[in-house]
Amino acid sequence: MEGPPLLEVDGVTRRFGSLVANDDVRFTVPRGGLIGLIGPNGAGKSTLFNLIAGVFAPSAGRIVFDGTDITRLPAPARCALGIARTFQVVRSFNAMTVLDNVLVGALVRDADTRAARFRAHEMLVFTGLDGRARALAGELTSPEKRRLEMARALATRPKLLLLDEVMAGLTPTEAREGIELVRRVRASGITVIMVEHVMEVVMPLVDHAIVLDLGRVIASGRPDAVVRDPRVIESYLGAGHA
């Protein structure tokens, strides 16, 4: 089932003063896909991610989500349409309980706090955090906080989930659990775009990889093909290694 893509990034450029962080970036994300967005430091991954999430608008180009032009929509409206995200540096509501953190996410779909609270608890079970439901978010360990961000984002019932370096700083065991969680999210029918700096984490997981360097897409395709692409090797290791 091909159908129209869920997300279409169409010639998006973003400048910060004279710096061009994203330069004519274009790609599409099919429904149900698991896409990896990779590239060396400063490649423009975070900028592109923030453009899709609605933190700021592009200087040029268009972003279409699920048939709607969202180029100028602010972040809360994008969440209502079905885009959810996590943050590279975790942003928990530290003074609130773990359950209430996730509840905030669930409330965008359901004004009834009781129903939303049940939904929030389901998400804690799904992410394996239900044992910590009554703790304050500020008391969680950092891998737990990453799970909390996932649970909170999933509680908004997204069609598209944006994961910003969710594996960063995890031990190999924690990363394996994280990968398992991402697989289960995808299996539940949610399209996922994950930004990762470390290729080894993403490549076995995703079915399509987009490589950015200096704000441009330099390669796009199946992960095994992308890692052999000379331009990709060069961008990561420098000229002469290809």
Partner: protein
């Protein structure tokens, strides 16, 4: 998990915690309702009325400052509007204070929204600074307007005791119950807000704006709504206060000192908590009155120095607010 009937443990725990809060509040309200039976002294009665009234005021402030995190140091504007509108409508047009208070509250809400529209685009400390500046400007406007009686203020005419006109010459007791009723109302409003969508959204805005936005929260609208609710109850309390003291002038209802008395109890008692404002008021208001009566006669501001030292001592010893004292006896369960 094919057991839709079982309610997860964290949810039952939450529900019973909410019920416990309500039960404690009911017990406290009952005890306070009986308290005047044990108090005959006029001086003590006066302090009690002020304490309960400022507990209610700080609880209203807490809705914006505690839950939504927008620290206002200009709430005297709403308080003053409530006081002036209620008294002026009664003196000039014979409109009963019950309706006057509602009119004052409505005007305060409109003003809160009008001020919020530009000010809530300011971040953090700039909002606080704006509230101070606006309150100072309002103080000058009121002191120079005609309908407010200018710097001289407004005096309620002497009238027979009546619940309709809220005039009581012989006893302060009716004002005690009026203040208590308002305090119970603002507590219940806070308690209800704590488990509404708006309540959770406000606390999310307070905690992390970017995260709140990513979860669909409209930050600007949240601040506006919290501000409106807060202004409404602050103005009602202003009306009650005016009839309690029966004479108002610009400095007694609209000065920076009033803004401090409204915000400090919540900050000291536990900002963003259900019982913080009341606990803070119980300590601060009698402390202010007592230091004034014991040290106020020197003419050197000794009372303010003693008061300031006590406030600093509390904030150093209990940085999470007085409510955190509870955890000395009741351990927090994780």
């Amino acid at each position: 998990m094919a057991q839709p009937q079982t309610i997860p443990a964290p949810i039952t725990a939450f529900t019973s915690r909410r019920r416990r809060q309500l039960a404690v509040a009911l017990a406290v309200a009952l005890a306070l309702a009986l308290l005047p039976l044990a108090v005959a002294d006029v001086f003590v009665m006066n302090i009690l009325v002020l304490t309960i009234l400022f507990a209610s005021l700080s609880q209203s402030w807490n809705i914006l400052g505690g839950y939504c995190g927008q620290i206002s140091l200009g709430h005297a504007v709403y308080f003053g509007i409530g006081a002036y509108v209620t008294v002026a409508l009664f003196v000039d047009f014979g409109i009963l204070p019950w309706f006057g208070m509602l009119a004052g509250a409505a005007i305060a809400v409109v003003l809160a929204l009008a001020l919020g529209y530009p000010c809530f685009r300011l971040a953090g400390h700039y909002y606080t600074i704006a509230t101070i500046v606006i309150a100072e400007a309002a103080l000058l406007l009121v002191a120079n307007a005609e309908w407010t009686g200018g710097a001289v203020g407004l005096q309620l005419p002497f009238a027979p005791d009546s619940w309709a006109t809220l005039q009581f010459g012989r006893t302060k007791l009716p004002y005690y119950y009026l203040a208590l009723g308002l305090a119970v109302a603002t507590w219940i409003v806070s308690w209800v807000i704590e488990d509404t969508r708006a309540g959770y959204w406000w606390r999310a805005v307070n905690s992390d704006i970017a995260a709140a936005q990513s979860l669909g929260v409209n930050v600007f609208r949240s601040k506006m709504a919290a501000s409106a609710v807060s202004a409404f109850f602050t103005a009602v309390a202003g009306g009650v206060y005016a009839f309690f003291v029966s004479y108002i002038d610009p400095t007694s209802v609209m000065s920076f000192h009033i803004s401090l008395l409204i915000s400090l109890p919540a900050v000291l008692g536990g900002i963003g908590t259900l019982w913080g404002p009341a606990l803070g008021a119980i300590v601060l208001i009698p402390m202010g009155e007592l230091t004034r009566s014991y040290f106020g006669g020197t003419g050197l501001g000794t009372n303010l120095i003693v008061y300031g030292v006590l406030v600093m001592a509390i904030s150093l010893l209990r940085p999470q607010g007085l409510v955190s004292l509870v955890h000395l006896f009741v351990p927090r369960r994780a």
